[in-house]
Symmetry: C2
Subunit: 199 residues, 2 copies
Amino acid sequence: MYEGVVADLIEELGRLPGVGPKSAQRIAFHLLQADSEDVTRLAEVLLQVKARIRFCDVCGNVSEEERCRICRDPRRDPSVICVVEEPRDVVAIEKTREFRGLYHVLGGAISPIDGIGPNELRIRQLMGRLASDQVTELILATDPNLEGEATATYLARLVRPMGLRVTRLASGLPVGGDLEYADEVTLGRAFEGRRLIDV
Amino acid sequence: MYEGVVADLIEELGRLPGVGPKSAQRIAFHLLQADSEDVTRLAEVLLQVKARIRFCDVCGNVSEEERCRICRDPRRDPSVICVVEEPRDVVAIEKTREFRGLYHVLGGAISPIDGIGPNELRIRQLMGRLASDQVTELILATDPNLEGEATATYLARLVRPMGLRVTRLASGLPVGGDLEYADEVTLGRAFEGRRLIDV
């Protein structure tokens, strides 16, 4: 349906997550009619990303330097480490402004079906940090799904001998959501974790 | 929230049509973790698109040569020209395999509010083709909205003296749709254009 380079562009765009064939076509035609500078800028930033982005030596978050912005920040509390699966989880938590400690990015969750065991994750590096640092609390913020829960349980057992406070983020009803639309598991968790109201 | 080049990437991706901040972030993290070759290939195809794509001298469709694939094809019927707004409309019509004539891409529709009048569209080129070619039918396939209808009416009046058969694509209920979900204008058009059933 398309000639040479337009077909290539639509194919490459269609590989991106969340971009279906219709969106790829729409973006391609937008780019065909966009200013040359705009398209060149996008192409250049793509090339720079791969050249300049690396992962933080300490926590595994994306970074342009050996240590990421958060690990370099002296105002962060080094006694609390929050364990997440992916760099985008760090961003989600940072947006809440609720957490002032440091992170540890595992690079995924334990998932035997995908061939991902503890050795494929940055667990050895985490153990190293716990051994040498002044950490008192480990917050397990892996995803609230099967793989995330398994990973949290695995880590909780692994660090138990170290005598740390190990916590897990609360599960429950999403704020602003409708009770009737919550799935049974979430609703069950919300009951389990119910809290006394102070009046 | 993001450092240098990651922020740049998310910003550039967010400029693409249909890509909101969440999608931009998701695509960016996908690219950060993707193979270098994949990202380089996307960047290169973006640069090539701007270098190699031009618009067909005859019909205004996207092309890598002076004349596009359709205008070069000797099997296409040069007696019928289908007028569309954008190159992506050509693709949509080609997919139906219903049309074997040639196209003329206007590059938009008349829209005084956006400052687009007849002179901003490829109407002069269309008149040139109608004067010199053996065209017998002009199909006005501009969008079925205010601007598209205005453009179709304008063109129909303009070419009236040439004695061509001028047609407009049918409006009506979308096939596979639900009558109750059709808007009033579409339903009204469907009544207006109702056809006798041959039994």
